[in-house]
């Protein structure tokens, strides 16, 4: 077992603690001080951050595009964003859902395999390029934003389910969930745009054409179109509900599906 693997497993435990504490905070508000909630997340970010820096130092910065490491870096960005977004007004459940989603993805990654051994990584000379790094990093941040936005959307959808709560409370929850998701998605736009254009610049400098039918690039452009469509739904109040939620969830699925594809560039040849 690689030495950093232990750090990833410890980070997983910290994330599990954060999930429990966040849901407890949702069910019994104000029982747990905010600083405790934040501390567990900061512990996760620290452990995971050290492990990622270790991995990147051993196998070179481009290795972060490896599907396994990319997923871990995306989760790091997700929890960092969650820490930032929790300072803004929004439904408590959104934060708990984001942390839970992050925990599931983190656990799944640990179950399917340990971190890649750096001796086994053969990184193409095309991947040793700042534009490629920029493309991968900004795509990961955009994916992280999508995971956070999904928290708000899931709150919105959950509030639509028939429950015994009073209508006003459900309405407030829906409105807050929607506002949280929309506000968060706005953050994704510059990152995703940057990623698409960094990819175009990388492709052009490497192969002399900015247009490529590589799956990783096309999926990111489709995700960008979905994001643009989602942001346009804000223009009409009729579209702000179910349509916006549906588009966000489709975007989330596509964002998660694009993670393993980013690593295509690591072994890219003409």
């Amino acid at each position: 077992m690689a030495p950093e693997t232990a750090l990833y497993y410890t980070a997983n435990l910290a994330l599990f603690a954060a999930v429990l504490l966040h849901w407890w905070n949702v069910c019994r508000p104000a029982r747990i001080p905010d600083r405790i909630l934040r501390s567990t997340l900061i512990l996760f970010v620290t452990l995971q951050g050290v492990a990622l820096v270790w991995s990147a130092a051993m196998s070179g910065p481009p290795s972060i595009a490896h599907p396994w490491l990319a997923t871990m870096l995306m989760l790091e960005a997700t929890i960092l964003l969650c820490l930032l977004l929790e300072r803004r007004p929004g439904p408590r459940a959104a934060g708990a859902i984001v942390v839970t989603l992050a925990f599931f993805v983190h656990s799944y990654s640990l179950v399917i395999g340990p971190p890649p051994l750096w001796e086994d990584l053969t990184i193409s000379p095309f991947a040793r390029n700042p534009w490629y790094m920029l493309h991968v990093l900004s795509a990961l941040v955009a994916c992280a934003v999508y995971v956070c936005a999904a928290g708000g959307v899931i709150v919105y959808v959950a509030a639509m389910l028939p429950r015994r709560d009073d209508l006003a409370a459900r309405g407030t929850l829906q409105r807050d969930g929607k506002a949280f998701a929309q506000g968060t998605l706005t953050l994704a736009f510059p990152w995703l745009t940057g990623s698409v254009f960094a990819q175009a610049a990388w492709t052009y400098l490497a192969w002399g054409t900015y247009w490529s039918w590589r799956l990783a690039g096309v999926v990111l452009i489709i995700l960008w179109l979905i994001l643009v469509a989602t942001l346009h739904t804000r223009a009409r109040s009729r579209w702000q509900g179910t349509i916006c939620a549906l588009l966000t969830l489709i975007g989330l699925v596509l964002a998660l599906a694009s993670l393993p594809l980013l690593g295509q560039g690591l072994v890219a040849t003409w």
Binding site: T122, I123, S124, P125, F126, R128, N129, W131, Y132, R175, K178, A179, Q182, G183, T186, L187, F189, P190, T193, G194, F197, A200, A201, W202, Y204, L205, A206, W207, G208, T209, Y210, W211, W213, L215, V218, V219, I221, I222, L225, I226, V228, A229, H232, T233, R234, A235, R236, S237, Q240, V267, T269, W270
Partner: protein, 463 residues
């Protein structure tokens, strides 16, 4: 009933519904492009590679291969499937940009009629009453808004005072800048296939030269090349020095590596890949050089022959006319277990007209072989595969990308805020109503306006 076609078209092309429809169509077209194999740009319609690619399509898609080819599904970038939605998107963006320009201008410099209309009977602008005179109320409202970093203007019309407050107003033009950038990008993508050219697969050994077909006065010479490989034979890094010549005289030279091309006059030279280069020379027992001839269509008799091999074309042949011999050189990219995991080169010699080799050896490095008393120097090096490209649409596209990003960041980070207020009343009672003139994002912004009104109301009460 008369229908104003122009107005209807304008509203249709500028509607959000139209934008969404085009976005959905583009998503589907791109998904098709990602799923179906696309014709490589560099493959000419009459080349053997194209025939090979077509045959592969026939095997995979059977009876569907021809109709899909005819409908352009295997070359979507050059087809109407992509061009029409992109052209419509440009129209949509232009119409939206003009509408947005008009709205932005109005928000920045509203006329008295605009202000009066915003607070007309049907408006549900939130507000409150203050038991005070007009002037002190106006002064306090102005102070409160200025404390929130709004730039405030007050104007009076028919006994009613209108307050217009702006915060980060210039960021309001960011969205327009973004629209302009996007138009530039889409126009570049549309024009790219018509204006850009590419000449890939220029295989050159050190010292060799290649004339560029798209710019016949230019040629490329490889001065030096080195490829560092992983044990599995994949490239780890490349180091190449290239000279560009115009009508035979050197115009520029420099290093070329993946992601760092050499530029000259709108043309760029990129490092793509590498392959094994085998230089062979022969001498008889007395040391006199012998003539060799590569068995290719353009093969001439020389004292030294270079074979450019690859994983696809791993065999090369050359004749030794003086000895009636044919040398077969086979590159083995897969590591042979008996050679401790390194790639190898098999050299065999055949007497003309026979199938049994008179000599056979496997090499891991350059070597001097002795075949029937003659010595053959086998120098095993590498050749570089370069591509030359010219694309005048790159700069507009990158400028558009920069404009789009700058616009998005400006309007997202420094979000422009506009507040209009109507203050009217008599000597003892004043009514203050506030309005947000933004047309978009009503859901979020109305919520923000409500909290701002509540804050201002609280401060009025508190003082």
């Amino acid at each position: 009933m008369r229908i104003d076609i122009l107005d209807l078209s304008w509203r249709t092309f500028g509607s959000h519904r139209f934008t969404l429809a085009i976005l959905v169509v583009l998503m589907l077209v791109l998904a098709c492009g990602a799923i179906l194999p696309q014709r490589p740009d560099e493959v000419a319609a009459d080349s053997p590679q194209y025939a090979h690619w077509r045959a592969d399509l026939q095997i995979r898609y059977l009876q569907w291969a021809d109709p899909l080819t005819d409908w352009g599904f295997f070359s979507i970038r050059d087809s109407y499937w992509l061009e029409i939605p992109l052209a419509l998107l440009i129209v949509n963006l232009v119409v939206c940009a003009i509408d947005r320009f008009e709205n932005t201008r109005r928000r920045h410099r509203p006329t008295s009629q605009d202000l009066a209309a915003a607070f007309s009977g049907g408006s549900h602008a939130p507000g409150f009453l203050v038991v005070e005179k007009m002037e002190p109320t106006l002064a306090r409202l102005r102070g409160l808004l200025e404390a929130r970093r709004y730039r405030v203007h007050v104007r009076e019309t028919e006994g009613v005072s209108y307050v217009t407050a702006l915060r980060f107003p210039s960021a309001d033009w960011g969205a327009l800048l973004g629209h302009g950038g996007l138009i530039l990008i889409i126009a570049s993508v549309l024009l790219g296939p018509r204006l850009a050219w590419q000449e890939p697969g220029i295989a050159l050994g050190p010292g060799q030269e290649h004339r560029i077909q798209h710019a016949p006065s230019l040629s490329v010479r490889l001065d030096h090349f080195k490829a560092d490989l992983y044990p599995n034979g994949k490239a780890q890094s490349y180091e190449a020095n290239v000279t560009i010549l115009e009508d035979g005289s050197e115009v520029t030279r420099g290093p070329v590596s993946p992601g760092a091309p050499l530029w000259y006059g709108g043309m760029s030279v990129h490092q793509l890949s590498h392959g094994p280069l085998v230089d062979i020379s022969a001498a008889d027992a007395e040391g006199n050089p012998m003539s060799l001839q590569a068995l290719v269509s353009s093969g001439t008799v020389l004292e030294e022959v270079s074979l450019l091999l690859s994983e696809e074309e791993s065999e090369g042949y050359l004749a030794v006319p003086q000895r009636n011999l044919v040398l077969r050189v086979v590159f083995q990219p897969e590591p042979a277990p008996e050679l401790q995991g390194s790639r190898s080169l098999v050299v065999q010699a055949y007497r003309e007209g026979t199938t049994e080799p008179v000599f056979s050896d496997t090499l891991r490095d350059s070597a001097l072989l002795e075949i029937e008393g003659d010595s053959y120097a086998i120098e095993w090096g590498q050749y570089a595969v370069l591509t030359a490209a010219g694309d005048p649409t790159v700069l507009p596209m990158m400028a558009g990308a920069a404009a789009l990003l700058a616009g998005v960041v400006a309007s997202g980070v420094l979000r422009p805020q506009f507040i209009w207020a109507r203050v009217r009343g008599n000597e003892s009672l004043v009514e203050v109503r506030l309005q947000h003139p933004a047309e978009e994002n009503q859901g979020v912004r109305t919520h923000e306006l409500d909290s701002l009104v509540a804050e201002i109301k609280e401060e009025f009460r508190g003082s």
